[in-house]
Symmetry: C2
Subunit: 348 residues, 2 copies
């Protein structure tokens, strides 16, 4: 059994601390990945502190994984030892339902297996995430990585990247479309890069005017200070699509009137308090509120390949694992541009 | 100027009472319609009692109008004296914006002119609705009526009919699709008839088990008692589309998990309190909440023609205008199957 070491939470109150465990033996279609980098997603903090009420301890967080393949099962075709591989938010699914058959494994009718704090479909153990030295995963749930990209900056593509790429593709953003991005954080900055790259006219909404320069640098055509009603009103009924990347409380009714007829506002953040909306803002213009989460395995690979062709990665601050608890505190203060990534060589 | 008489509200507190007024002279593209029947929409009650805060008194309600053409402007091509004509919720628009040019006049960028309690675009007067002896309207905003239909039962098609027909068409309900209808009232019973006619598998949701037989008679394949969690759970993740026809408070989160991947729940009712929803219910399955209101002029005519071909009308209880205040009270008790229609000959 491959030995692994990582950092784990042992309760909602305790900081992450060194933790040794073992992975299961790889099956015929599985690979062993030595982890080089793992992104730090805000959901890692929510989960470690049991803020969603579904924690299982000890918990090794981490689902933005990039590493090197060290062993392959005998039936593996996609990887060989030495290849770079990436693993995201899910590591298994039923592989048999209509969604799985359509490579929308994230919508698996039985529920996909999450990369950590979930019951492993193979051996019933609890999955342990990427804040660790290695991972064992079926090749279907691992992705190849374009050779030209900085690997530390690739890691956040596995969650923040695909979470924003997928809805921007699904709702056909591109040339001739006006797209709004709410929030400029881990998700928002990736949304901004993708929407710009797809050729849309991109408007970044922010509550913080100091982010203006960064937003313009990352691809925004315009920046709107969302707390200024005059700036907001100037964009009334003009957006084809708005991607809402904010988890903090905010009023959907500030944004819905900015959608044009048949426009959609899609949530990818997970606000704790159920948001409310005035039905009038939907029926006048046949507007929609939708939700989207990560993406399927084929689309995740497409996203990585797209990033390779267009040289898109995340803006990251690389940290050693010993600074993870400090990084959590800084995330809470939004003191990160725009994603922490753990250099896993610091584990050794 | 054509003299008119009708029933008007003079304040939010006063019952409707007889009221004499005059219509403006018809212009070259306008027609004069002697009103035969006018449906009683729940919004008439909301408006008369100023429950939406935008009342203008004296107010003659009514926007489900069927009548006989008595005069036509010299450029009118669609009607001649003696024809049956129908008028719905809007009677004018800018006629020049992208939505109007696409015959989506109800989404007019300048705002369409409502049939009553709105400022007339021609002479600046306040529009007076169909609880009256006649109406003057541009032929673009009047519709021909199939000869085979009962005219009293046609009247509610102009609001309840098009309000449900349009979203059921827009979201492509039909054979192979599973469609839910929430609420079996004025809107709901028309939604049920249309969805059934389009060939969908239709499930009627109701809080009142005594409506079961009626729902089956009107076209439901199944009836679900929405307050029974077991009945609801049996339909988890199975609906392509749900049309929500209820204005009373109800929990969207009871219904969103019943949508399959990429399914949509569309509101056509206008709940007073902004509804809330758990974002989790949208992102797991990329589901949407949308809104829809009435339909454009071309689509309204298509709906009427469809009703002629398929012999679809509303279930109505015909009343004399003298019973309108009693009808309002009975509507509040949901004591109507399923739409009151005023026989305007009672005015004489």
């Amino acid at each position: 059994m491959p030995a692994s070491k990582g950092y784990a939470a042992h309760s909602a109150q305790s900081p992450l601390a060194p933790f040794a465990f073992s992975r299961r033996e790889p099956g015929p279609t599985e690979i062993v990945v030595d982890i080089l980098y793992c992104g730090v997603c805000h959901s890692d903090l929510h989960m470690a502190r049991n803020e969603w009420g579904n924690a299982i301890y000890p918990m090794v967080p981490g689902h933005e994984i990039v590493g090197r393949v060290t062993a392959t099962g005998k039936s593996v075709t996609k990887f060989k030892a030495g290849d770079t591989a990436a693993v995201g938010v899910i590591v298994d699914s039923c592989r048999n339902c209509p969604s799985c058959n359509n490579s929308e494994e994230h919508f698996c009718h039985e529920g996909a297996t999450l990369t950590y704090a979930a019951k492993d479909r193979v051996d019933g153990s609890i999955t342990m995430g990427g804040y660790s030295s290695n991972y064992v995963v079926d090749e279907r749930f691992a992705h190849t990585v374009p050779a030209n990209l900085n690997l530390a900056a690739v890691a956040p593509l596995l969650c923040a990247g695909i979470t924003t790429y997928s809805p921007l593709r699904h709702w056909n953003t591109g040339p001739g479309k006006k797209v709004g991005i709410i929030g400029l954080g881990g998700l928002g900055h990736m949304a901004l890069k993708f929407a710009h790259s797809f050729g849309a006219h991109v408007v970044q909404f922010t509550t913080n005017d100091r982010k203006r320069e960064d937003a313009l640098r990352l691809g925004a055509n315009e920046v709107v200070l969302s707390k200024d009603p005059a700036q907001m009103k100037a964009h009334a009924a003009s957006f084809d699509f708005i991607l809402d990347c904010v988890s903090a409380p905010h009023a959907l009714d500030d944004y819905l009137p900015l959608l044009r007829q048949d426009g959609t506002l899609t949530l990818v953040g997970l606000p704790e308090k159920p948001p409310a909306f005035a039905p009038f803002n939907l029926i006048t213009g046949r507007r929609s509120i939708a939700g989207s989460m990560i993406g399927g395995m084929e689309e995740t690979q497409q996203m990585l390949d797209y990033c390779g062709h267009h040289n898109i990665t995340s803006e990251v601050e690389v940290i050693p694992i010993q600074k993870i608890n400090e990084a959590f505190e800084r995330m809470l203060k939004q003191d990160v541009k725009y994603r922490f990534v753990i250099d896993m060589s610091s584990l050794k």
